[in-house]
């Protein structure tokens, strides 16, 4: 156990850069200037939080008269656990199999499950940090609005801590199975990408298909639904009982089956965790040893082939652009966390609308289209921007270079030229996301061109701003000392700050649009005002980025 503690200590320090952070503020007084910046970021969260709390209260008020308010808890739990599962899969693969510390750990007299235990705990802590902002508001709101007893608040902490264990253990087991297979193959990178994608899409597909199945149409069922306080909870969570157990434990507290449900949740979590330890003993080293081996055919290059392949005459900006494309697309962790996200979000959206053709999403979209045509344009533009800009490509563009950043520092290409090449790459990924999302909304959901086209124009115009600002955030303090590619993009604080900023800006724009609409301004005028604002922001942000790069780049020492 002592060894596990030692491993865990190092892993926690590395994952959260605790000692660096301590040094950052304790020893370097000048870094205190970043505290107001952190305050600003938190400030950007306020509009998002207000909108979120309003949404939770609205859902509660709708469910309460039907006696189904506990469904809110299950919904929150399901969303949180699904997020843990999807994010966890890539995270687990990266931490278990792609950390460079494995090269140091494997030759040591360390048992495989010790490594797994330590890394799993770090991921668990990270996942908790990720889902707490999402789950705590509905849990607290539910407690306040339903005047929950003391037992609700007492059960909240253990339930919260247990929530990510089950989905993360399933992710880890799947990841270990996948990586065992990958290690048998010669095309390892390709198999990792395809395998991970398959598992993620399968999870979404099952979730949506199973949710759609099951009867709910008969009169008796409807009557029963309203008679039982837990009906909605059971419907939402019927395919994933742990979500129901968590909700019941909270909702019932010490009453009736509350403790039993908490026991069930804890029991299954412990069982799966133990299963993970057992499996890791057998297959972890088989999956990880030799993973970095690359089997390459060594075939001599001839003069003629060299003449064909030695391309010349490319402008340096173009050369850097292609370097960015290749490095991003060929590093599985960058591809899965960056570019693939722009396909996953629209794919999930599409599955949700196709899986439920008569109700839910389509009805909602048609309703808002009918209520206010501008609302659907703005909502679509928001969706396009979330898909295109919130994938971490721009906000990790400098960090992704890692230890190879020295090359960018010594090559004779102006900072502006280098940043421009990176901007083109990040913007292209944004456009890809906007295009895919546009196609899904147009073809999959069936929104009319007259709604989609202006939304696309707005998103394309605004995404320059979001891309440039994300790059500024990353350039300000690039994370270059990572040992695991996942850290450069997923655990990079710059990516999180950029996402908060993007969401905050989108929420602020949303509030502005609502305000303008409430002033009875014509839809075209509101749209043109928002378009002008986006163009102005984009027009100012790109020159600012280039100017910032000229000032910041020389100061980065490697």
């Amino acid at each position: 156990m002592k060894q596990v503690r030692a491993l865990l200590k190092v892993d926690l320090k590395t994952a959260f850069s605790l000692s660096l952070l301590w040094r950052f503020f304790r020893r370097e007084r000048k870094n205190w200037k970043y505290l107001p910046l952190a305050g600003l970021v938190l400030l950007a969260l306020i509009p998002i939080l207000i909108a979120y709390l309003m949404l939770i209260e609205a859902v509660f008020r709708i469910l309460q008269p039907m006696g189904q308010e506990s469904g809110l808890l299950t919904l929150a739990v399901i969303i949180g656990q699904m997020l843990v599962f999807v994010l966890g899969l890539i995270y687990v693969i990266s931490a278990f199999y792609f950390s460079s510390d494995l090269e140091v750990l494997i030759p040591l007299p360390v048992k495989p499950h010790w490594i797994i235990l330590s890394k799993f705990t770090v991921i668990l802590a990270n996942e908790l940090i990720s889902i707490i902002p999402l789950l705590l508001p509905p849990f607290i709101m539910f407690g306040i609005l339903s005047r929950a007893p003391v037992s609700y608040w007492l059960f909240l902490t253990p339930v919260m801590l247990l929530l990510p264990v089950i989905p993360l253990s399933i992710s880890a087991l799947l990841a270990m199975g996948l990586m065992r297979l990958v290690n048998l193959s010669r095309k390892k990178d390709l198999l990792i990408i395809v395998g991970s994608l398959f598992l993620i899409i399968l999870q979404f597909f099952l979730q949506i298909r199973l949710r759609g199945s099951g009867g709910g149409e008969s009169t008796a069922w409807v009557l029963n639904f309203f008679n039982d306080r837990n009906s909605l909870m059971n419907v939402i969570g019927r395919n994933f009982p742990p979500a129901v157990w968590a909700s019941r434990a909270l909702d019932m507290g010490f009453r009736s089956s509350g403790p039993a449900n908490l026991f069930l949740l804890a029991g299954l979590s412990a069982l799966l965790f133990y299963g993970l330890v057992l499996v890791s003993r057998k297959v972890f080293y088989e999956g990880v040893i030799g993973l970095s081996e690359v089997t390459a055919k060594r075939r001599k290059i001839g003069r003629r082939e060299l003449e064909r392949k030695a391309l010349a005459g490319r402008h340096p900006v173009r050369a850097i652009f292609w370097r960015e494309v290749r490095l991003m697309n060929r590093t599985p962790m960058f591809l899965l966390n960056g570019i693939v996200v722009v396909f996953i979000i629209p794919a999930v959206f599409l599955m949700m609308s196709l899986g439920d053709p008569k109700g839910g999403l389509s009805v909602f979209l048609k309703w808002i289209t009918g209520a206010n045509p501008l609302a659907v344009v703005l909502a679509s533009a928001g969706f396009f921007l979330i898909t295109g800009c919130l994938n971490g490509t721009a906000s990790s563009t400098f960090s992704r270079e890692g230890r190879q950043f020295w090359i960018s520092k010594v090559i004779p290409v102006s900072w502006a030229g280098q940043v421009l090449a990176k901007f083109f790459h990040s913007y292209l990924v944004s456009l890809l996301g906007i295009g895919v999302a546009g196609l899904v909304v147009l073809v999959g959901v069936g929104l009319p061109v007259k709604s989609v086209a202006p939304a696309l124009i707005l998103a394309v115009a605004a995404s320059v701003f979001f891309t440039a600002v994300s790059m500024v955030i990353d350039l300000n303090r690039p994370l270059l000392n990572w040992t695991n590619p996942q850290r450069a993009i997923k655990q990079n604080l710059n990516v999180i700050v950029a996402m908060v900023f993007d969401f905050g800006t989108l929420a602020a724009l949303g509030f502005l649009a609502v305000f303008l609409i409430s002033r009875k301004l014509p839809a075209t005028v509101v749209y043109l005002m928002l378009l002008a604002l986006s163009l102005a922001g984009s027009g100012a942000s790109l020159p600012f980025l280039l100017k910032f790069a000229a000032r910041k780049y020389p100061r980065i020492e490697v």
């Binding site: 060594r298 030695a310 340096p316 290749r326 020295w406 520092k409 004779p412 020389p554």
Partner: protein, 241 residues
């Protein structure tokens, strides 16, 4: 030509003085060896020359241009080999060389001729199409060296270039370094291998605790050191703690 005047660099808010008031001139056409014990300030000096670090004090001129104010022009005249061959491992060797060729504007015919010659010299013809990820440490070192020599920049700065190279490749590299200086170029390199420094370098410098403790030709150093005969004994004497 490299001119270093009064350069100092410290880390940890001045707690660690890595380079302390360094003055050094390396004229064109010279192979200059830079020696010193671990942590003496060799890599810091090299990083200061190529612009990876910014000096706290002093100036560094490359062919008369300040590497801080005229950084782009200086970089166009300089290539660098780091002490650890960390390069884009998801690119193939040829893609990396093409990238460097594009950045330094090396034309097609020169590019093909130089790459072809280097591939043969360093026996990399069979590996150049593979991903750098599949390379051994020595092969990575070879690809970084090829990239440094590809543009035929006037000044080539190398940090421990012989580490990881097999004897044949090391021999070829030394020949190429000599050839580069014959064409009027400058080579500034650090090494721990005394024999190589003694035989290959036109002039040498020894740095210890950030300060230059000796600089000159091998004969100068021997004359100054008196009874010591080899560079190794001079080095040991000058860097004694």
């Amino acid at each position: 030509m490299i001119e270093i005047s009064g350069v100092s660099k410290s880390f940890n808010r001045g707690e660690v003085k890595a380079v302390d008031g360094l003055d050094l001139t390396v004229p064109s056409g010279e192979i200059f060896g830079f020696l010193g014990p671990n942590g003496a300030g060799k890599t810091t000096t090299i990083k200061l020359i190529v612009g990876l670090l910014k000096p706290d004090k002093g100036t560094i001129l490359i062919n008369g241009l300040d590497n801080q104010t005229d950084s782009l022009k200086c970089k166009a005249m300089t290539t660098y080999v780091p002490d650890n061959p960390d390069v884009y491992e998801r690119l193939t060797g040829l893609e990396y060389l093409n990238f460097i060729g594009d950045i330094y504007g090396v034309g097609k015919s020169e590019r093909v001729a130089r790459i072809s010659r280097w591939l043969e010299t360093l026996e990399m013809e069979a590996a150049v199409k593979n991903s750098i990820k599949s390379y051994s440490h020595g092969m990575r070192q070879k690809i970084v060296l090829m990239a440094a020599f590809l543009p035929q920049a006037e000044t080539i700065v190398l940090d421990e270039p012989l580490v990881g190279l097999d004897p044949r490749a090391a021999h070829s590299l030394k020949e190429e370094m000599r050839e580069h200086c014959r064409r009027g170029g400058t080579i500034f390199f650090s090494t721990h291998i005394m024999e190589v420094a003694e035989r290959l370098c036109d002039r040498l410098a020894i740095i210890h605790r950030g300060r230059l403790v000796a600089c000159g030709t091998m004969d100068d150093l021997k004359a100054r050191a008196g009874e010591f005969e080899s560079l190794e004994t001079i080095f040991l004497e000058l860097t004694e703690t």
